[in-house]
Subunit: 358 residues, 2 copies
């Protein structure tokens, strides 16, 4: 680390030897070819994905500093990324293909880009094994192929789980046509990271009308919905050892836990929905037993400590959300959280080591 | 109170003289005529409101115990309701017309039912002034009439604010065509209670497919969205003394506060949306200064204490959500919250007295 960088880090009060490794668990990257395919899609007038156009159109086409920085850094899978990690005190990144990943493509393209991006990610992990690890991209458009690719990525490439960027063409993983993927993840003993993406057209309008469709709010509603759909579908009774990870403080589900449990029990009792079947446990129990949460975009001690108190300190993992929220000062704030040294090591390091089998 | 009832209350550990009055601030009622109009609407095949059909169709037509109990108790505005209040230790209810209130009707019907229901509610308040107070129904379909009715309800009838059941035919209060209502509430120094209702068709589908459109989850997303739309529109810069109240633990907005502030600042800087204009304060500041939250449906000490810690103990008010969540045991749980006696009196009593000018 250069003197200047060292100085900057200490000005931010990011401690050099804090007594734990800082593992950031929701860090995004994108192969240049994929971003070029995104641009090609958007150039087609017939391409009718208003949420994607609004969101990725911004990141890939806006002249703003924020959009340019994000688009450029997403493509760094080399020393430039490691320099940013050094500047912000991050020892290791758990990398995942940025949203919506391959889920915007047709089936064949999705299957092909998932493979090639996993190969590239694995190459970077082999080059910097102490700094990078990663999750496999899979194409839910073709569930058997996705299961097979996850197996290849874990067993052959050494990746640590799968990332799924919420809905795929408006469909959700609670539909059992996707359960090949869930079955494979459980059999391989790897987690599925359920990450937000642009909202489906079936819920976009009231959010996008006021610019609230993205990370500011819509992401959380939609990904929280996706996780709840999976829970109430009974998928976690069918795959009881399956682990999911959700970011952004658990997409507010820890805060909603009491109400979800109360209203789910009421709905099951009153048989309001044919689909509201009894589950083996309360929805909140799956949240506590099958789901881990990360703090991407939520570098805020009160919310993190609340989540730790209701889920357990073993369930909450640090994440930065690089490069979308590359804010080194937040690392210093997390270092300063008023929790025990043991809890802090779990938060930054040992929970991630356990969940991702590092 | 009869001996049996007294026994039941003490079995639930609801203290008789806790040192505060328990004022429940989000309690629902419905005139029989309005429910009959709902039934008439649903009988029309041409009536195309899928969210309303799914939700009120359940409460008014399901043979389940839950639906029958709710539909019956909604119509009690007399000794029967007071008996339930006695059984659960509630000294006073702040009553509001149940969702979606008049907002499902055509303009003329809405204006007329708002008036007649306010008259009925005021009559009940006059009869039991120590036990009931209430909020005015207004018809956003006709903003000038709504403003006028709010003025009549406050100045002539003695009601304490307005209830607005989220969207009106898919439109939100951030649209300045509704601002007559906001202006009137500010001028009268009364709060607007922004309450959930069935989701608009523009976001219903992915929620209702798995029975997650109602109180279990969809309500929170949509009402939180509504509140954020109002905040980012600048309405609270235009009406800086206006106070809103949102229930259900603030619809998770206290938990989202850090992320909303971060991403709003990023969106304003990068000019992603023409509508994302700079505000005088951060979104979270409006949450702390213009908005009060209640605990309807969220009788859970960890979430309540988290909200108190980030908003202030003066911003969080008790609510039961009778008759939708008539669960006397929850009152005992709230009595037992590990907070100071002073904070508990604010929670149950003095915050409500201040916010509603009781």
């Amino acid at each position: 680390m250069t003197k200047t960088r060292e100085k900057r880090r200490s000005a931010l009060r990011i401690r050099r030897k804090p007594g734990y490794r800082r593992i950031a668990t929701e860090e995004a990257w994108a192969p240049t070819e994929m971003l070029e395919l995104y641009m090609k899609l958007m150039a087609k007038r017939s391409f009718d994905e208003p949420g994607f156009r609004s969101l990725m159109g911004f990141y890939l086409q806006s002249p703003s500093e924020r959009a340019r920085q994000v688009a450029e850094r997403l493509q760094w899978l080399d020393e430039r990324r490691i320099r940013d990690m050094d500047d912000s005190g991050i020892d290791m990144q758990v990398l995942a293909l940025t949203a919506p990943g391959v889920q915007i493509f047709d089936r064949a393209t999705a299957v092909s880009i998932a493979k090639s991006s996993n190969d590239q990610l694995a190459e970077a992990v082999r080059t910097w094994p102490d700094r990078f690890t990663g999750l496999a991209a899979v194409a839910p458009q073709d569930p058997p192929a996705a299961a097979k690719e996850l197996e290849r990525a874990v067993l052959k490439l050494g990746l640590k789980g799968a990332v799924i960027n919420s809905h795929t063409h408006g469909e959700y993983l609670d539909d059992d046509k996707f359960w090949d993927i869930l079955e494979a993840a459980e059999a391989l003993n790897v987690p599925i990271y359920l990450h937000p993406r642009d909202l489906p057209r079936t819920m976009l309008q009231p959010f996008v009308e006021r610019g609230l469709d993205g990370a500011i709010y819509g992401f959380g509603c939609e990904t929280g919905l996706h996780m709840l759909r999976i829970i109430v579908s009974g998928a976690l009774d069918r795959f009881p050892k399956l682990r999911f990870i959700i970011g952004h403080g658990g997409e507010a589900l820890p805060y909603w836990m009491y109400r979800v449990d109360y209203m789910h029990a009421a709905a099951v009792r009153s048989k309001r929905f044919a689909s509201a079947k009894p589950l083996k446990k309360r929805p909140g129990d799956y949240l506590k037993e099958n789901i881990y949460i990360t703090t991407s975009g939520m570098a805020w001690a009160p919310a993190i400590m609340f989540a730790q108190s209701v889920l357990g300190v073993d369930r909450v993992l640090y994440a930065m959300d690089y490069p979308y929220q590359f804010t080194p000062a937040e690392v210093a704030a997390m270092d300063a959280m008023p929790i025990s040294a043991r809890a802090k090591k779990m938060f930054f390091q040992s929970n991630a080591e356990r969940v991702f089998n590092l």
